[in-house]
């Protein structure tokens, strides 16, 4: 492991200016559960690690009760999300995803921001935030900008973030009434497991409690970046949601996916798992909506 210097700024501005000083020889670090692994393995050899952990504003988890908007600081850990009753009750899809990341130890330090910016196809945290139409607030040397979470990813390990840019927080717009959401990581083990495939579904029903007004079907490990199955979503809009149509949506989503064979799993089985779990997560959404009404 190459030795590095560790800097801990307390403001976003200071962090960005540190980065300006050291540019490509520096790397931001949050929980470090991805960064430190890479440094130890020699895949990454920064001279400086700029820790974001001391920047208080980035660690806040807050719901604006007046507007219904949820704000998740990039430094919020998986464990914080997992333990939040508000998340458990109102954003079950986030809870499903973060409560099964790695192990307790990893969840205690790993952050949602790091999960997004690390940008692997298997990132569990990305799928729910895409399904919830999350917006990422970025801050860089040339100021602030925002982007849809779904548009953050370019390729494995590659995001739209420019050099020196920091993800400050993610905001989740107000959820419509009659909305249910659910995520499943399909894997072989109960812990310390990257998903073989990750499936997140969000459904909003009209007041008749049958007709779908909004659908999100989001897949992890189904393509080089987290993806939405737009055709499958389209199928559901304006339709009455039942098991049959969810099966059909699952089939379409499986076709839309670009799953591959790897040492971890075969493409045909991954497709099959998309079919099965789009249906199962869809049914779970209906269940949640019913229970909440």
């Amino acid at each position: 492991m190459k030795p590095f210097k560790y800097l801990s700024p307390t403001t976003v501005e200071k962090a960005i200016s540190y980065y300006g000083e050291h540019s490509e020889t520096a790397k931001f670090i949050a929980g470090g559960t991805d960064v430190i692994v890479k440094v130890k393995e020699g895949w990454m050899e920064p001279d400086y690690l700029i820790s974001l952990k001391k920047i208080e504003e980035m660690g806040e988890l807050h719901k604006n009760e007046a507007t219904g908007e949820l704000s998740i600081g990039a430094l919020v850990t998986h464990a914080t999300l997992e333990k939040s009753l508000m998340i458990q009750n109102e954003y079950p899809i986030i809870y499903d995803a973060v409560s099964n990341i790695g192990s307790l130890q990893v969840r205690n330090v790993g952050t949602i921001g790091g999960n997004l910016i690390n940008a692997v196809p298997s990132a569990d945290g990305a799928i729910p935030l895409i399904a919830l139409d999350g917006v990422a607030l970025l801050h860089g040397p040339s100021g602030e900008r925002s982007a849809q979470v779904k548009d953050l990813f370019i390729a494995p390990y590659k995001t739209i973030l420019k050099s020196g840019e920091i993800l400050k927080k993610i905001t989740i717009p107000t959820q419509a009434p009659n909305t249910g959401s659910a995520y499943i990581k399909f894997g072989r083990r109960a812990a310390m497991e990257l998903p073989l495939i990750g499936i997140g579904v969000l459904l909003t029903l009209e007041d008749d409690m049958e007709t779908c007004s909004k659908a999100r079907i989001c897949l992890g490990v189904a393509a080089p970046t987290p993806m939405r199955a737009f055709d499958a979503e389209k199928l559901l809009i304006g339709k009455k949601i039942n098991k049959e149509i969810l099966i059909e949506a699952g089939n379409i989503a499986a076709d839309e996916s670009k799953v591959r064979n790897s040492i971890r799993g075969k493409a045909w089985h991954r497709k099959e798992m998309i079919r099965v779990h789009v249906k199962r997560m869809g049914l779970k959404c209906l269940e949640i909506i019913k229970n909440n009404s």
Binding site: R188, A190, I263, R264, G265, K266, H269
Partner: protein, 769 residues
């Protein structure tokens, strides 16, 4: 069973007690010294360069840049390894390769430097030119005539090993059978996953005597290997001292010596300094040896009542590029093949075939899990074919005390029947069967009273007592986390009327401990236990002699208990044992109490026909499992597990359960998730992310009923229990899956993909009809 000592008819004081592991606190506090923690003055750090091909000629090696790097003390290549320095019982494996490489884990160079970082840098500076050769990765293809040869000098890829037996008349029995099942099974590479990675420190004194601190399960046999290496290096008549630090797991992985140990020796000799080689996790996965993978062809038959008539098995073992104990696992596979259940006509033949894959070693169960997977899976199929209940067929054919099996195994005690009862009791499902839920059962036999694989199956113990009633016992047996220290201390404490904390167990240092063949074959409690008991008995005799004089009583009437010697029918007449010891010591012609004992069990080496009573006694067990199969995903969830074992007597039920739990979870991984994934000989999942070891969250609650049969040869009646836990797990699971959803998986591990593919195939077959 009550906790009565049948010899004295009194309650045991220490035997049968749930005494926590003696080193538990030390380990929990981080004070246990593993190889990682040991530093010697002036120590250098060695690193090994592995090759980049599965099969290639080495055209050129240039080490000049590495040698020139500041801080490098030595760079070795195959040229620097003495010709006769070869590892393994087949002596086909030099610690650093020369001329050509035959697998990805082949060592091509080694470096010693003042820091691990510099050593690593030096490795990067070594330039090697290879010429790639065609590789062979499928053992059945490697047997074909025009297959490339892994070792040209060997002329064939098939090893010259004698694994073949035929008792009774299998052909005739097959003809006379009412039902026959014939199938093919395959099993994968799995690895031990010791949490403590491998490592060694070698150093020579000024007279060229070697001391090596190394992670081993076989101090005495490792000493022999290292002596041979020294001899090959021209160092004859030297001494070798092997010291084993505390190790983080063995499971058979440390039953042979590895290249890194011999390389540490070569580097230490070249540098005249201590040299330490430590594996990282990737090396641990890639450069230590796996369980033996197999291709199994099996035929089994029974008569119309379900009585087994014959068993005919043929196996092809992927030997990998070099030969270690994996190639001898057929000698243990023979045990379940000839002796699990009563079956008179048995045939077996196994071929070990060189390939350009990794080579295998010993691993918990030593071939037994592979053979039992095929036997117990087909037994369920046979039962179904014959229309007999799967529990009944097992009961009908069960082994019984007094049996002599076709291989000549004398079954002394046998609680298989009781184990089957226990499983049946736990697994009976009341009411209608839920969809996707099923149960499975499988039994096991394993050596439980040593195993005479080597010329000696012995173990020595030396016991001395001090003036304060404390004991030091120097045992040949190796504690590797399984708890032999506890067992030894409990046996000695029971025999001498002392407390466990009075007994200090010293093990795994060949300068002070007597010889032992190694911590293998579930033999340590039985063999090392009997050795300790033998030494304790000798000392006890002397104590009683003195006691008889000091208390003026018949020695037969004296009892040792609670650190005191007293007269049985006159308990007022007593003396603390420490006082007795001082009286013995501090009197004219004084005496200090010490004794030695070498126990070599009365078992037999198997001859050319593989007949002989390999073990003094055998352990039996039956496992039952309830699973739920998700028919849409193929995922198998284990709901309930019961593992009943005949252990003779549980010297320490707490440790016994630990062995069973650990064994079963290892077996579950073998059955469901674990696999070393390879691509053309290359390990593709050398990390815990992709090598799917069960996590704590995957582990399930296991019931481990203990059947005590009190074996007359075991120390206080005990038999071995180290390995059985992982033996019948895979077939129990496979049988349960079949019971649940009607598909049978013949290939381990049973992944969701395989189950779902089988379910789909079954569905399309039924819709076609």
């Amino acid at each position: 069973m009550s906790n009565l000592n049948p010899d004295t008819n009194r309650e045991f004081d220490v035997i049968g007690k749930r005494i926590p592991k003696l080193d538990a606190a030390q380990k929990a506090m981080g004070r246990a010294e593993y190889i990682q923690d040991i530093k010697l003055p002036g120590m250098l750090f060695g690193k090994i360069l592995y090759c980049k091909y599965a099969h290639a000629s080495i055209v050129k090696i240039d080490t000049s840049k590495a040698r020139a790097l500041a801080g490098v003390h030595a760079v070795l290549t195959g040229q620097d390894v003495p010709k006769k320095m070869k590892m393994g019982f087949y002596k086909d494996n030099p610690p650093i390769k020369k001329g050509k490489v035959c697998s990805f884990r082949d060592e091509v160079a080694a470096v010693a430097a003042i820091s691990p970082e510099i050593a690593k840098k030096a490795l990067d500076l070594i330039e090697i030119e290879y010429e790639e050769l065609p590789g062979i990765f499928d053992p059945e293809k490697a047997m074909e005539k025009d297959s490339p040869l892994v070792h040209e000098y060997h002329k064939s890829n098939v090893l010259k090993l004698p694994w073949k037996l035929h008792y009774g008349d299998v052909e005739k029995a097959e003809k006379e059978s009412d039902f026959v099942v014939e199938e093919k099974f395959t099993t994968q590479w799995v690895t031990h996953c010791c949490l403590g990675t491998s490592g060694a420190i070698a150093l020579f004194d000024s007279n060229d005597n070697l001391t090596i601190h190394t992670n081993t399960q076989i101090p005495s046999l490792a000493q022999k290997d290292f002596l041979e290496s020294l001899k090959a290096m021209g160092l004859e008549n030297k001494r070798v001292r092997v010291i084993k630090p505390i190790i983080g797991g063995g499971f058979g992985s440390k039953l042979d010596t590895y290249a890194y140990e011999h390389i540490a020796i070569l580097l230490a000799y070249a540098c005249r300094k201590p040299v330490k080689i430590m594996f990282d996790r990737v090396e641990e996965f890639k450069a230590t040896s796996t369980r033996q993978p197999t291709v199994i062809y099996i035929k089994q038959g029974c008569d119309k009542n379900g009585k087994l008539t014959f068993r005919d098995m043929r196996m092809i073992l992927d030997n990998g590029a070099y030969t270690s104990w994996g190639a001898t696992t057929p000698s243990v596979m023979m045990m379940p093949i000839t002796s699990l259940y009563r079956v008179d006509n048995v045939k077996y033949n196994a071929k070990c075939v060189y390939t350009n894959n990794t080579y295998s070693q010993a691993m918990r169960g030593y071939g037994n899990p592979q053979a039992t997977f095929a036997i117990e899976s087909t037994l369920d199929m046979l039962a179904q074919k014959a229309g007999i209940d799967r529990v009944e067929i097992r009961r009908l054919n069960r082994n019984q005390p007094g049996d002599v099996t076709p291989q000549g195994f004398k079954i002394s005690s046998c609680g298989l029947s009781e184990c089957i009862d226990e499983v049946e009791k736990e697994l009976t499902i009341d009411g209608p069967k839920e969809k996707g839920i099923g149960t499975g059962i499988a039994s096991l036999i394993h050596v439980g009273g040593g195993a005479r694989i080597y010329k000696s199956d012995g173990c020595g113990a030396i016991l001395k007592m001090d003036d304060y009633g404390k004991v030091d016992i120097f045992t040949g047996g190796t504690d590797m986390g399984q708890g032999l220290d506890n067992i030894t201390a409990q046996i000695v404490a029971e025999e001498l009327g002392l407390f466990v904390e009075d007994i200090n167990v010293v093990h795994s240092d060949t300068d002070v401990c007597p010889w032992d063949v190694g911590a293998h074959a579930s033999r340590s409690t039985f063999v090392a236990g009997n050795a300790a008991l033998g030494a304790a008995k000798k000392v006890k005799e002397t104590i009683l002699e003195y006691g008889s004089k000091l208390l003026d009583a018949d020695p037969k009437n004296l009892v040792l208990k609670d650190r005191t010697i007293f007269v049985l029918d006159d308990p007022e007449k007593s003396m603390p044992i420490d006082k007795l010891l001082r009286k013995a010591h501090f009197s004219p012609q004084g005496k200090m109490l010490m004794a030695d004992f070498f126990y070599d069990p009365d078992n037999e080496n198997m001859g050319k026909e593989f007949k002989g009573n390999m073990s003094v006694t055998y352990a039996f067990g039956a496992h039952g499992v309830k699973v739920k199969v998700d028919e849409e995903t193929g995922k198998v969830k284990v709901l309930d597990y019961v593992a009943a074992h005949d252990v003779g007597r549980a010297i320490n039920p707490l440790l016994l359960e630990g062995q069973v739990y650990g064994g079963v979870v290892m077996g579950l991984g073998y059955a469901l998730t674990e696999e070393v994934v390879t691509k053309d000989g290359q390990n593709m999942n050398a990390n815990f992310r992709d090598y799917k070891l069960f996590t704590a969250k995957d582990a399930i609650r296991i019931k481990a009923p203990v059947v005590e049969t009190y074996d007359e040869y075991g120390p206080f009646g005990a038999k071995g229990i180290g390995e059985p836990g992982c033996v019948p797990t895979a077939p129990a699971i496979a049988n349960a899956i079949y019971d649940a959803v009607g598909v049978r998986i013949f290939d381990l591990p049973i992944t969701p993909e395989k189950v779902l593919a089988a379910l789909k195939e079954k569905k399309s077959a039924t819709t076609k009809i």
